[in-house]
Symmetry: C2
Subunit: 477 residues, 2 copies
């Protein structure tokens, strides 16, 4: 649905867009518009009026001002790998591509920072810094194709969140284009900076609803000296959950502590053929990194704790290559599951890690109740699960059951002290449920902030804030 | 200066305050008002109309609503140890004491969190968690008397910032009372949570200008197994600066990397009598923690690097007790200096750590130019210096030179990519300079946020945002 502007209005806007960045960077052909009418989220599509590709921060700011002055919806887009329809231009208008802003501007080895433009591919950054013996920990599963701008917009997580945190924990400074056409800078190469409100963290994770990040300075750390991986196999899902708690209670924080249920294991093994066990109910994939002697000690202790909690087997990856193969297999879980049915709906309800076993059990009960197929995998160590429903969007009746099942899963997560979304964002898909987590007063604070920065509501409209909140099925305490 | 309300208005407000929390928690005696007319910042004093002490979050929210409805200034206060006049009630009105809200509500060993009320003393929290083998790293020098609520409001730093970050890096969830009388909750016991904007980090460090934090859930980590401390002595300040860079460039991140110049050393030794060297131009106090074998290795390497950079001596603290004595001596630097002259003005201009040597040199030049006495110490590892001016507030002419000197120091810090304040906050003292760091557009964004949450401007009025920005002496590029 292109915006409801007249031909004449659109033609004026086009002229101004061309004046900002040249004819070659303004696309209003049907094929161009179709290419950016959807993202990685199933079941969302809408046609923008223009697809534009600015080359500088100043051009980005000029586009924002034009859109704000003409009340034209603006959707910023990197690689479109998000899973909440955040880059789908649901109200038409302008899709702002960051493809020309894809440079690494500086690697500062004295201050351990890297400064990049938003269109840079995440993996390009991690590869570059690892060449220098440095490390940028956030590793969303899509990192081979996702852009850092998308990661910043969504505050992406990944497999290393337990020990190293998420994207926002590595952002030191931003340049941001605002809807009023101004460019501002926040933060600096500074561990400590309390000059005013923390705008850096406000914009990270704001899903393109406040402004456009045009440059980011990221914090790096020394690359861990070594790394080891074990697989713990379980015939009892609760035992896997207890193992997670036991490891943390013994004061070890592994880098990665992933859970895969039998359904997911089978799908991944079918896809990757690396010899994953498919005859067990669940596995934990555990990685520790650091100085060699500490990794050895931790891995040994963690293996023992898993055995104490009745893991039926614990296997050590024999080599770095085998460990990498396991991590890659885990990252392919969504793709592997997606092959099985026409539509794959993946959520990321998140709970305190102490509630992992309870949550996995609740998901299984909900799946049974609504007669839907839900496989579960995810980042057990930080309570971030990805219940994934294999379904078919053409089957309306089943889709209704799927939606009801996920609503119940969200409700359960919140009841357990969790959240609707750990790392995928609110976007369109979780917007109707946001009030369950934040309450009316919390949403009002966020809307007030949005209104103060984007008074004409042009930034990613239709996302995060829903026109209608879902009713909760039961009243929570 | 009490607020400009009439006797009648004040009497109505008093009645309502008494209705909220009882006569015994509303003090309008002159002695009570005088006691809270100033804080740890020199040269600021103003009389509030009331000093109130709510017992619950609901009472806090009710006070905020009353103040908002009656446009009464509200100043939230813990122990008043801040150094930017943030708790001085410069426009009169209500001082909100958090003394009754001083409980540790929960220590969750499975999720590694502690939930506290804002009036809890910082050291009470660190002592409690260390009993369990856990660790809350932020350690502002005032931690024996500061409250966690104050630390949250200021986003306090400390001596361990280099490796472990600052207060905001350990805040997982908040309960906040808003000026509209609502209580909201942000975050959760969740490493990953992207449900809406990051209000947690917006409120942390907002210096009481947006709302009142009534409860906080803090992240804990396992307590490091061991710790070692060395002192490196220098006859050349630049060599100390180069040592800092060299350690980081060799991919070691010590917990603590403190710098003290000769003036500070002499003052501290006079105060503490622990045998600090006073015949050298500067020292670095370096601490590493972690598994014993790694600490030994790092400390050995760091000592070598200091010697390579021409440290005249490197001494290893012989015992934990001696190391603790050194840390305590460092924490006493401000008190030690404060004994020497009637007025002590301590700033915390901060630069990227690569610029430490340049900044120390610039401070010395400025002191010479304005003929003022400035001692410098601070957190060299994270570029956070505390140039401290020993002066006498009664000497107007000298105070003008002091002010001009600090303005030039701020300007230099910003020129080097730094900031006005690393950990002490903007408050009243740095407000006129804030625009130098943020630009007009950046300040406007912050003001818009403030306006959306606190439309009547009752929260800590007169702080952070200045009515008049200082002119910069030279135009920066």
């Amino acid at each position: 649905m292109p915006s409801s502007k007249s031909e004449k209005q659109l033609s004026t806007i086009k002229e101004k867009l061309v004046a900002i960045m040249g004819q070659e960077n303004v696309d209003d052909t049907m094929s161009g518009r179709l290419a950016y009418s959807y993202d990685a989220t199933p079941n969302f599509q809408a046609l923008p009026d223009f697809v534009v590709s600015p080359r500088t921060a100043e051009e980005v700011a000029a586009v924002l001002k034009l859109c704000s002055d003409t009340s034209t919806p603006l959707y910023t887009r990197g690689s479109g790998t998000n899973l909440c329809a955040d880059t789908c231009p649901i109200k038409g208008g302008v899709v702002l591509l960051m493809k020309h802003l894809d440079k690494i501007l500086e690697l500062d080895k004295e201050n351990l920072t890297i400064t990049v433009q938003p269109g840079t591919i995440t993996k390009t950054i991690t590869d570059r810094v690892e060449q220098e013996g440095l490390f940028y920990p956030p590793d969303p599963s899509s990192m081979k194709i996702s852009t850092i701008g998308g990661n910043l917009g969504e505050n992406s997580g990944g497999l290393r969140g337990l020990k190293y945190g998420v994207t926002k924990d590595y952002v030191m400074a931003l340049q941001i284009a605002l809807p009023n056409g101004e460019l501002i800078r926040t933060g600096g190469k500074l561990t400590k900076d309390v000059a005013g409100y923390d705008l850096t963290h406000l914009f990270v994770g704001s899903e393109g609803t406040l402004g456009v990040i045009t440059e980011a300075t990221l914090k790096l750390i020394p690359k861990p000296e070594s790394q080891k991986t074990i697989l713990a196999l379980y015939q009892d899902i609760e035992a896997a959950g207890r193992s997670v708690s036991s490891i943390i209670a013994h004061k070890m924080i592994p880098v990665t502590l992933e859970f895969l249920d039998q359904d997911t294991l089978k799908a991944v093994e079918d896809f990757a053929h690396i010899g994953l066990p498919t005859d067990v109910k669940a596995i934990l994939l555990i990685v520790q990194d650091g100085p060699k002697e500490i990794v050895d000690r931790d891995i040994h202790r963690m293996a023992e704790l898993c055995r104490e909690e009745h893991a039926v087997d614990v296997r050590l990856a024999a080599s770095d290559a085998e460990a990498e193969e396991l991590a890659t297999a885990r990252r392919s879980a969504l793709s592997a599951l997606a092959r099985l049915k026409p539509t794959t709906i993946l959520e990321d309800a998140t709970v305190p890690r102490s509630e992992i076993a309870t949550m996995v059990r609740a998901i299984a009960e909900v799946a049974k109740k609504y007669k839907v197929r839900i496989s579960t995998f995810g980042h057990a160590g930080d309570g971030n699960l990805h219940p994934t429903c294999l379904t078919d969007a053409r089957d309306k009746e089943e889709m209704e059951r799927v939606e009801a099942a996920f609503a119940e899963i969200f409700e359960k997560a919140i009841e357990l002290g969790g959240t609707l979304t750990g790392e995928h964002g609110v976007g369109v898909t979780k917007a109707p449920y946001l009030e369950w987590k934040l309450g009316h007063a919390g949403i009002e604070v966020m809307k007030g902030i949005k209104q103060s920065i984007d008074p004409n509501g042009i930034m990613n409209p239709g996302k995060v804030f829903s026109e209608q909140s879902k009713q909760r099925m039961v009243m929570m305490k």
